[in-house]
């Protein structure tokens, strides 16, 4: 239940080109974002929330009083919630390449050679680091030098880590939930299956499907189905669906739905294909694949975190096999090796990767405690 009420997305245009990790640049772009709460006069209470794969800037509150429009992290953000908007000024930015308002592949390519066509497949490949650089420019424009915290889960957690590495003096706390220092081969493999499903859809048209007035929905559906399987634990799926049948009697059909899990996945796939952009899905899964800050340090994660100075909180979930606790522990070790301040909670939640979006009391308890500590530090002028 939202307590924040209705919120308004805002947007900011940036005319200065953004150099990208790939060597390309985004010559002109807009970021869509939302803010909740009030920026204090000393500007020390700002918290940046980073979103994951299929989410957006709409992290909390509703639009036009519609309860169905509640933000994706509304259980965490709002007055009296763990990230309390009575104390903090929360900023949530839609990342570049997304399909929820910030400049993305469905927007017109400003390159004169493109002749006013939409970017489509020509949208430059963006990385976690590029997103963080764009977020930093927005933070600059909002007049904020130093963030009280950067918080994110999954791919959002990678952004929080990237903040601590790229802008070590601009955040006091880094809170990374259900994340990893890079994707495993298995994780990249799942992403590749999803991408192939999209790219091989005849409606994809090499990424320029907008001009054909079609959407590669079949590919998007399959991509979402495989993704969804990996976000749930085996136990959670067993508890929710088991072998429950669609009808009492089997139909002995190879193509119709026999088991409820099939119906559920198809429903999730259908829903997703109605609102998500195929090029965005390719871009965001690639950003996940490419994230590997230790690569530049020969794989040495401790050396990677040497420039960091934030106080860290890492949280993982025991049944999350996509971003397993062992991956968070790798980060904890690197932070300990650098004698940085870090706490790590490993929550025995049954839900798999999706647990980071749910309101487990132990999980939210730890986050609440951390934000209370951050608020106390602000009060004490630390």
């Amino acid at each position: 239940m939202t307590t924040l009420g209705d919120v308004q997305p805002q947007s900011m245009h940036f005319a200065e080109p953004l150099p990208l990790k790939s060597g390309a640049e985004l010559r002109d772009y807009t970021l869509v974002y939302e803010t909740y709460g009030t920026l204090a006069a000393d500007r020390r209470n700002a918290v940046l929330v980073c979103h994951a794969l299929n989410a957006s800037h709409h992290a909390a509150g509703t639009y036009g009083g519609d309860p169905k429009s509640e933000g994706w992290w509304d259980n965490l953000i709002g007055p009296g919630k763990p990230l309390d908007t009575r104390r903090f000024f929360v900023i949530s930015v839609n990342n570049l390449g997304s399909c929820f308002g910030s400049t993305g592949p469905m927007h017109a390519n400003p390159d004169p050679a493109a002749g006013g066509r939409r970017y489509g497949a020509d949208f430059p490949v963006v990385t976690v680091e590029d997103w963080v650089d764009a977020q930093a420019r927005l933070i600059d424009a909002l007049g904020i030098d130093e963030l009280a915290a950067v918080l994110g889960g999954s791919l959002g957690g990678m952004q929080a880590l990237a903040w601590a590495l790229r802008y070590p003096t601009r955040l006091r706390h880094c809170i990374a939930v259900a994340t990893a220092p890079n994707l495993s081969a298995q994780n990249i493999a799942f992403n590749e299956v999803a991408r192939r499903a999209i790219v091989t859809d005849p409606d994809f048209h090499g990424g320029h499907f907008y001009e054909h007035s079609v959407v590669p929905k079949r590919g998007l559906r399959v991509a979402r189905m495989i993704g969804h399987i990996t976000y749930l634990s085996d136990d959670a799926m067993e508890a929710k669906f088991g072998r429950d049948r669609q009808a009492a009697a089997l139909g002995y059909t190879t193509q119709d739905i026999e088991f409820q899990i099939e119906g559920y996945l198809r429903y999730q796939g259908d829903k997703f294909s109605e609102y998500f952009d195929a090029n965005t899905y390719l871009l965001i899964t690639r950003a996940l694949d490419y994230f590997d800050p230790a690569f530049a340090h020969g794989g040495d994660l401790a050396a990677t975190f040497a420039p960091a100075s934030a106080k860290f909180l890492l949280i993982s979930f025991t049944t999350d096999w996509r971003f397993a606790p062992a991956r968070s522990r790798e980060i904890v070790k690197a932070l300990v090796d650098n004698r940085l301040e870090v706490s790590y909670a490993e929550i025995a939640a049954p839900h798999g990767h999706d647990a980071f979006l749910l309101d487990d009391a132990r999980y939210h308890g730890v986050l609440r405690a951390r934000f209370e500590r951050i608020a106390a530090e602000i009060r004490n002028g630390k």
């Binding site: 522990r329 300990v336 870090v342 706490s343 929550i347 500590r373």
Partner: protein
């Protein structure tokens, strides 16, 4: 707690294995300028540490201390924890590997009331050992004197040791007169 805190040199980098609610680490931070981390398995204790602003890492000590490099801490504390662990000896060697100094405390089963219980044919149930034999979390039952033997065997040099009884240090016949044993040691 004060007795243990006094064993920790000011400004030390401390690892507290089984740090509970983080009270000691907070005390060492606030009064002895120490830094470091606690290790806890219990959710409620992890939350309590976070509320105190104490760095805590949620881990099962039975899995070892792979997270920590050799000699990366000045002091490793293992207070009232050793007796709960299956891999007691392994944890002791891990303590000596990770820290320059190890400090352990544990219930001394040779304290005289415990001896009386055993002479009477029953396992001890006392204030320090309030459990029955069938529900006790103290799965390792040892004495002050036993630890001295183990330390020698494992190449640990005892720097200081004493008993604690009713909040006071016991240096005379601690194996008989103290319910809690305390050892400060280093790898020899």
């Amino acid at each position: 707690m004060e007795l243990i805190a006094e064993l920790v040199p000011a400004g030390s980098r401390v690892l507290d294995l089984g740090c509970g609610n983080g009270e000691l680490l907070a005390h060492l931070r606030d009064h002895r300028q120490c830094s470091g981390y606690g290790i806890e398995i219990d959710d409620a204790n992890v939350l309590a540490c976070e509320q105190r602003g104490v760095n805590v890492v949620q881990l099962n000590l039975e899995e070892g201390l792979a997270l920590f490099e050799d000699r990366s801490f000045d002091v490793v504390l293992q207070l009232d924890t050793l007796q709960h662990l299956r891999n007691t000896e392994k944890m002791l060697s891990e303590t000596a590997r990770v820290g320059r100094i190890g400090i352990v405390s544990f219930p001394n089963f040779a304290h005289w009331p415990n001896r009386l219980h055993v002479v009477g044919g029953r396992m001890p149930v006392t204030r320090v050992l309030p459990y029955e034999w069938y529900d006790t979390p103290n799965i390792r039952v040892g004495t002050y004197a036993d630890f001295e033997v183990l330390a020698r065997r494992d190449g640990l040099r005892i720097l200081d040791s004493f008993g604690i009884q009713n909040g006071a240090v016991v240096r005379r016949w601690p194996n008989l007169l103290a319910s809690v044993a305390v050892f400060k040691f280093e790898r020899s």
